[in-house]
Amino acid sequence: MNETSAALEVRNIHKRFGGLEVLRGIDLRAGSGDVITLIGSSGSGKSTLLRCINLLEPPNEGEIIFDGESLALRRARDGTLVAADQQQITRLRAGVGFVFQNFNLWPHMTILENVIEAPRQVLGYSRDRAIADAESLLEKVGLADKRDGYPAFLSGGQQQRAAIARTLAMHPRVILFDEPTSALDPELVTEVLAVIRDLAEEGRTMLIVTHEMRFARDVSTQVVFLHEGRIEEQGPPSKVFESPESPRCREFLASHL
């Protein structure tokens, strides 16, 4: 990883909710092709960090650099940092996919309509091109036969795979996964992890917040352990899982493996 190859980098991210400091200065960089998993107990700030990257949550401090471009931020009245340039944040959000814990598919649209909405609107694709794209993506996540179905009639695992297809339809350079399997029944977790695993093998750049430790060990190029808003341990999975330096990380892994 050299200075120029970072696809995404954050520096000194701080986030407060009222008096509670959830993130206390996070620095993280993802080189092209990196798969970084973020682990840690609940409340450690993993999800908040992910949400700060594309400004779903405005941080209180910090810098976000995507594709070599530092995001212009300005301070809002409540002290948080919000996007100063609407076009730039749209570019970042279009280029950084986000997969939610509860899928957040739009229930009044079919699966196909869910997938083509953003490419048509944001990337300016024609309907035909967006549909062709969507069909091959739905094929890829194993949902070709559900294209005209509505989200409410799909299982959780199918909904999450559809949500991943919707994200992929934007051809993102980086994908953020926020606990993609935490809302799923145990027997549905595997099918979703298999899709994410395929994406990792394609060499996509991804940041994944997860509680699936075995999965994290298998797919990650780097594992980051967060504790109370700070990075406590970081390194390749072999190091973090087998010989962690931090006692807290050891404790956490002991109770989660």
């Binding site: 279009a94 939610f100 649209m109 609107q121 509505y150």
Partner: protein, 231 residues
Amino acid sequence: MPELQGFGAQLAAGAWVTTQVAVYAMAVAVVLGLLGALAKEAPVAPLRWLANLYTGMVRGLPELLVILLVYFGSARLLTTAAGWFGHNGYVELSAFAAGVVALAFNYGAYLTEVFRGALHTIPRGHVEAGLALGLGRRRIFRRIVLPQVWRVALPAVGNIFMSLLKDTALVSVIGIEDLMRETALAVGYTKEPFTFYLAAALIYLGLTAVATLVIHTLERHTSHGMRTLSS
């Protein structure tokens, strides 16, 4: 069918006016209701105050009084405003326009509450999913929030329309020649109140039956993808 003594065409014309008042008033009320709901949810405090003042006022006043206030108040307001632009003399809304505005003003307040309730049923994640894909706020509102608000609100909106349709009878007091007024005129000429009030009742029932049918069709068309007890 009772003998209408040649007043049938007049009643039909009245029914047509009633329909028009109801449909126009509803269209304006839906716009007012959406604006009111958005204002109540706005981060800007004065907008919220304004919306609360609006719904509070309508809730606290008899509808008939609001109709009279709008009719006479709007004439004053318009005359004054026209004065600023150099026009001297009396300006007023037509009775029809005043009736539509007054009913819309009333029902917009009820719809404000209905739409606000519907807005609260849309999970924040649906908006976040749009933002995360790079969609703009307007686009998200129009394509993701509004269609869902609409289908959640539709049954209540349908009820409100029925109630509005019946309340059009109130606008006859400002001289609109709606079904109620035409009926009253016919009663005055023929001295046969029961016959004509019965005829009017049947026509109102006919109108509400058509409205019910339209509302049901709309509900069927917007409920796709919803998993409900009945589907």
